[in-house]
Symmetry: C2
DNA sequence: AAATCGACTTGATGTATGTTAAGTAAAATT
DNA sequence: AATTTTACTTAACATACATCAAGTCGATTT
């Protein structure tokens, strides 16, 4: 078995046998991404979804003023991708970049489609993954509409302490939807 | 066939045969919800997901200040629910209420779980549904972070003209994450 | 038919967060 | 080792949108 991490992750929401996993693994490839290097650039068609084995990455968009907006902040044992581009296999508007030197597993679109037919439990896995991702995002979006940045930052520290500790402030601020200056002021007020 | 609408909806993202559909239909029940009446209240366990056959509904949360925040605005041929409560079968924090007199089909949690085992194409359908819901929400959230309310309102008019025309301003404003007063001013500026 | 309620508007004023600008210190690059 | 870049901080000022308050008009209820 190449990746015990992935095997474990798949079996969180589905029942993937070692035989099924061998089939899945035969379709995977691995990529190393150096800190601050891009894994995906906007305009590209996202041919893969990525499972992070090591490191930390962010996905982000760039608006018409040139400001970056972090969409996902992801560490080991989590999935990242431009889902919109991936499912439509057309040009996307999301960039993915490593925040630390990272290692990711790549699963190609046509392979995944084929695996869905062959291994119904894999479709179960992704159904659950998207279900959970949707619920989390709905709650995050709701928090953005009903709470001030300070409360959302405290919630982030509480629910994802490893992220808050490990990821540079600029990306956390962007993920919270505020400027680094604002987050710096919030931190000053909280910790002094 | 009781609901051609639902049959058509399921076959948008999956291949549900008439035989399979008969099995699904045997698990459905129907409910009529009068304007301004609740279909689900926060604190309840959401035992069902709802498919809207007729009318319009909104789901919303209430924050600690007592302000309502619209989460979903839904008309015929769309799904609505408190997914978080539904999947965990524990108390939720979402309210669902009819904006117009409505008719909805109910699909219970344990029935859906059973149907997933029996009809893999139904799992395909929901995998795709959540995938699309996630992508849409990600784009909506991103717009909320990078665009002003006026631009988001124009986008809403463009992409969902029926919603903008049919749903009262107060709910549109809440969905946009602004007050009715602000949306009223935006409209004044746009249409005069 | 009267009374109430819901949907929407308008104006004066307040505030969370943005913008601009300037700086320090550590990390990365040469 | 020197230089550049990145991460972060602080301060003065600007702004999108909220809040509070008051009012109109039509729909709903009694």
């Amino acid at each position: 078995m190449i990746s015990a991490q992935l095997f474990h992750n798949l079996n969180k929401y589905a029942r993937i046998t070692t035989d099924d996993f061998a089939v899945i693994e035969s379709k995977l490839s691995k990529k190393f991404v150096k800190k601050r290097k891009a894994l995906l650039m906007e305009g590209d068609v996202s041919r893969y979804v990525y499972f992070v084995e090591k490191g930390a990455l962010r996905s982000y968009t760039v608006d018409k003023e040139g400001t970056e907006h972090v969409v996902q902040l992801v560490v080991e044992e989590h999935w990242i991708g431009d889902l919109c581009s991936f499912v439509s296999q057309s040009a996307g508007n999301i960039n993915i970049e490593a925040i630390e030197d990272s290692e990711v597993l790549l699963l190609a679109h046509h392979d995944l489609e084929m695996l869905y037919e062959q291994i119904p439990q894999l479709e179960r896995f992704f159904r659950q993954l998207f279900q959970r991702a949707y619920v989390s995002l709905q709650q995050w979006h709701n928090a953005a509409q009903s709470e001030h940045a300070e409360e959302r930052y405290q919630q982030l520290i509480k629910e994802h302490p490893h992220i808050a500790a490990r990821i540079p402030l600029i990306y956390i601020a962007s993920y919270l939807g505020i400027t680094p200056e604002s987050l710096s002021r919030i931190r000053k007020q909280l910790f002094s």
